[in-house]
Amino acid sequence: MLHLSGVAHAYALRTVLEDITLELPPGRILALVGPSGCGKTTLLHLCAGLLTLQTGTLENRYTRPAVMFQQPRLLPWKTTRDNIALGLKAAGLPRAEWQLRAQAMGHAVGLDAAALDQFPHQLSGGMQSRAALARALVLEPDLLLMDEPFSALDIGLKAQLYRLLLEHQNARNVAVLIITHDLMEAVRLADTILVMAADPGRIVHRFALDTPAAARNDDFVHATTAQFLHAPDVRASFGLP
């Protein structure tokens, strides 16, 4: 269980987050959408422990969190395989085991043996994203924090990685907090969508989806996104007339 209540954050005198309250139980997918600069990334960094909490309470009972950042953030001097295995190696697993598991997870996200032996800058952007996803999933996390992880990818690749993510999430009951500015992405993946507005960053709208993510087809996503966009709070948040 991840529970935030009354969380606020300021950089010097500028308030970026105000009165954020949210809850993420195991096995649920929570999407945070909002315009650029509304403090989404700050919120995720607070959850990941990269920033110190200033105001409010943050309770994180998950023991194995993993993060997927906006950029792949792979270590340029390590092969793809060693990059995927980074968290396993950090956890103190023997070399043979982390190599095997990194390899299996690499194959699962569609990286072949040749790609696993290459350095990150030799891979395409899509392959780098796959590697970053594999690096997070191979830890078998119970909480996955994702910061616009698929924003640089084409729609075909996105669809593939959504399927991979949902399969893994479903099988292991992972809780996912995903930040995105792509409403369709949120509608496709999330159980609950929180809409944030900027200056200061705050939650202005909550939207729950009852259909299981695996059962959502393109028509459902288009229709629901259109319906979602009719909410006045959502339009105001993105500055739509």
Binding site: A48, L50, V67, F69, R73, K78, G87, F119, L139
Partner: protein, 262 residues
């Protein structure tokens, strides 16, 4: 072990790539020969005479002990500077306050001419090994320190955050995150320091020691033996070139292999 194997395997191809460098060195020799012809052997002996003398020095065995003594002093000072400078520089790079405070001090140390340190060292250590070793150490230290400092400061914040999130223990942070990045700053600094160490050690020996290449230079100068003087100079330069191009440069290539493949 693979490093050693790759180093050995890479040498032939690497040497082959050195023809261009050899050609420009040959031009330098030609110019030397020209000046020698114009001014006479008393002012500048020609290359053949110099290398002949050099060969004599090595065959007669006179050069080896001096070379070994000088190398020992230079390497001791350099190794100390590399160890202390790399460690301190990386430590200082981790803290913005420390790197801010270190900057003016480094400028002062770097700005003090090695000859000034040598005079101080002669007073402190007298005419033994301590003087050249200390002078080399203090001349190389700021060079290495700045390299390590810059390397640590320039590591991408994003990668540091990633390392924190994936809970890398300090050993992995050092060997998998900081060192691979810092090495590309440290290596040029080490090579720079190596050059400095050879120049400074010869100077220090010339003024303060009774053995080593510097002392041999002083003796041949007092005998007005231009051939021997030049032979010793050539020895210093050749040793430096050999260490840099046969040892450090191939290692650097191997360590930075991930940069080169495209």
């Amino acid at each position: 072990m693979t490093l050693l194997k790759n180093w050995l395997a890479g040498i032939p191809a690497y040497l082959w790539s050195g023809w261009g460098a050899l050609a420009s060195l040959a031009l330098l020799l030609a110019a030397w020969e020209g000046v020698s012809l114009a001014y006479g052997a008393l002012i500048l002996p020609d290359p053949a005479a110099t290398f002949g003398k050099l060969l004599d020095l090595f065959i007669s065995g006179a050069a080896w002990p001096e070379l070994a003594i000088t190398a020992r002093r230079a390497m001791s000072g350099l190794l100390l500077a590399i160890l202390v400078g790399s460690a301190l520089g990386m430590a200082a790079g981790l803290s913005p306050t420390a790197s801010m405070m270190a900057r003016p001090i480094v400028t002062v140390v770097l700005g003090t001419p090695p000859i000034a340190w040598l005079v101080l060292a002669m007073l402190w250590f007298g005419a033994n090994d301590g003087t050249p070793v200390f002078t080399v150490f203090i001349a190389c230290l700021p060079v290495v320190f700045v390299g390590a400092l810059q390397g640590t400061r320039t590591l991408d914040r994003h990668l540091k955050d990633m390392a924190t999130v994936f809970r890398l223990p300090w050993r992995m942070k050092l060997f998998d995150l900081y060192l691979p990045h810092v090495v590309s700053y440290l290596f040029p600094a080490w090579i720079n320091a190596l050059g400095t160490s050879w120049k400074v050690v010869v100077m220090a020996e010339l003024l303060s020691s009774s053995n080593g290449i510097g002392a041999a230079l002083a003796v041949s100068r007092s005998h007005l033996d231009m051939e021997a003087t030049l032979a010793w100079v050539v020895t210093v330069v050749l040793t430096l070139l050999a260490v840099e191009y046969l040892l450090l440069e191939p290692i650097k290539r191997e360590v930075e292999r991930w940069r080169e493949v495209t």
